[in-house]
């Protein structure tokens, strides 16, 4: 009972942080799934005077260019081939502009598409830019907003959690100060002297991870708890549970170990 009471003040902030992180992961997952669903629902076609050096366009409006595909102009020539002489066809081949389609790594918003268009038009080699897209803007922007809000919330809770966890570790140091002093007088290192505190922290982290894993497992099987049923028709909500659990596990232990080593380092500097 005393042990549980001891770890409670460590467990609660850590668990709050992990659950916020889980929610962020779920929302992020929804956004990613939605992105992949709408990823080809836009098109950027450019027309150039001379062949394009594809490597010169790596990024547009802050979005990495995934691929630039050359569009064959053979069809145009084939359709008018019968009414032209061979010389004229050759001349036409030389005079015809080059057509390319640009694919981006992520789905752009309408304003980003407009920015891309303006950026491309600044290139003197580019004669024309045509941009087409299906309007997913409202849902997409809302999801991005939700994603950002959940990340900011996670970030703030993490900061507070680290402060509370550090305070709790300091409190444990105070409670164990006699024991730590005795062990150090016998030649023990700071790490050895504080091993019981380290055990508290690791056990709390493990417990927080287990509770959070149960939460994520429940939510992944009952998505309607977080997301309305109608959303499932629009977005395919799937999560890779093992990958997400690994992320939560790493975060739980990294935060605990990072905080405890921070406090240990401070203790070592003050006492050595």
């Amino acid at each position: 009972m005393r042990f549980l009471k001891n770890i409670f003040a460590f467990l609660i902030p850590l668990l709050s942080m992990l659950i916020t992180f889980s929610i962020f992961l779920l929302i992020n997952n929804v956004v990613e799934n939605y992105k992949s669903k709408i990823s080809r629902d836009y098109s950027i076609v450019i027309v150039t005077n001379t062949p394009l050096v594809k490597e010169s366009i790596n990024e547009l409006a802050g979005i990495k260019v995934e691929n630039i595909q050359t569009l064959p102009n053979d069809k145009i020539i084939t359709s008018i081939k019968s009414s032209l002489s061979d010389n004229s066809i050759e001349l036409l081949k030389q005079k015809l502009p080059n057509f390319y389609q640009i694919y981006l790594e992520i789905f752009p918003t309408s304003s980003e598409l407009e920015e891309i268009k303006q950026t491309l038009l600044q290139n003197k080699n580019i004669r024309k830019v045509e941009v087409f897209y299906k309007n997913h803007n409202q849902i997409y922007l809302l999801l991005l907003l939700l994603n950002s809000v959940s990340f900011i919330l996670f970030f703030i809770i993490t900061l507070f959690a680290i402060i509370i966890i550090a305070k709790q570790i300091k409190l444990w140091f105070h409670e164990h100060s006699v024991k730590i002093a005795i062990l150090r007088l016998h030649g023990a290192s700071v790490l050895y002297s504080a091993s019981s505190i380290l055990n508290y922290a690791l056990f709390s982290s493990f417990l927080a991870f287990v509770i959070c894993a149960l939460f994520l497992f429940y939510v992944s099987n009952n998505m309607t708890v977080l997301f309305p049923l109608e959303l499932h028709d629009i977005i395919d909500i799937k999560i890779n549970l093992s990958v997400e659990l690994m992320k939560i596990f790493l975060l739980s232990f990294c935060i605990s170990i990072f905080t405890i080593f921070g406090v240990l380092l401070k203790y070592k500097i003050n006492n050595d």
Binding site: V178, I182, L183, L185, H186, G187, A188, S189, Y192
Partner: protein, 220 residues
Amino acid sequence: MIEAKNIYLSYDDNKYIIKKGNFTIKPKEFIFIGGNSGSGKSTLLKSFYGDIPLKHGSLKIENQEVFGIKGKKLRVLRKDIGIIFQDYKLINEYTIEENIMIPLKINGYSHEVSRDQANKLLAHVRLTHRAGYYPNELSGGEQQRVAVARALAHNPKIIIADEPTGNLDDYSAEVVWNLLKGANEQLGITIVVVTHRVPKNLGIKFRQLSIEDGIIYEVS
């Protein structure tokens, strides 16, 4: 071997508790350090295990310079010393057996070896029947016997004791003196004891130092 040359000790820079301390303690010696309350006896003892830094001078313990010692070197030095305190300094959440195992485990012995050694020492201090007890379930005399057993556990070259019988009745004090005497005679451990009252009829050759106004004198 403990060798002090011109050592100065203070908690702040304004007043030296020990000034120009010069003395040598040879291996296997039994030394008493006396002096009035506040004369700096305990401070001198603390400097032996690096709990108080030296301001000036040189203090060598088993050829290890203590001046400016810290980190790993300090830990190694402390592993060579057994310490006994007036207030025992046992860890209350550990059993008696576990308390004796502390220096052994810190010195890297396995749990089994540490437990065997602890049980031998418990038999030596006649507390085998208390092995599973916690310190606060024992009398002061018994706790100090545990502290002596802990100081002996890792077979140190030096045992330093700060008023080891200060809180004990005459009978318990005699038991503690006999244990320290045995450690010196049978195991050849150098014993340095800070005390107000040097026991009568200790039955062993010893040397006495005294501190007055921060100066260390050889009494006998």
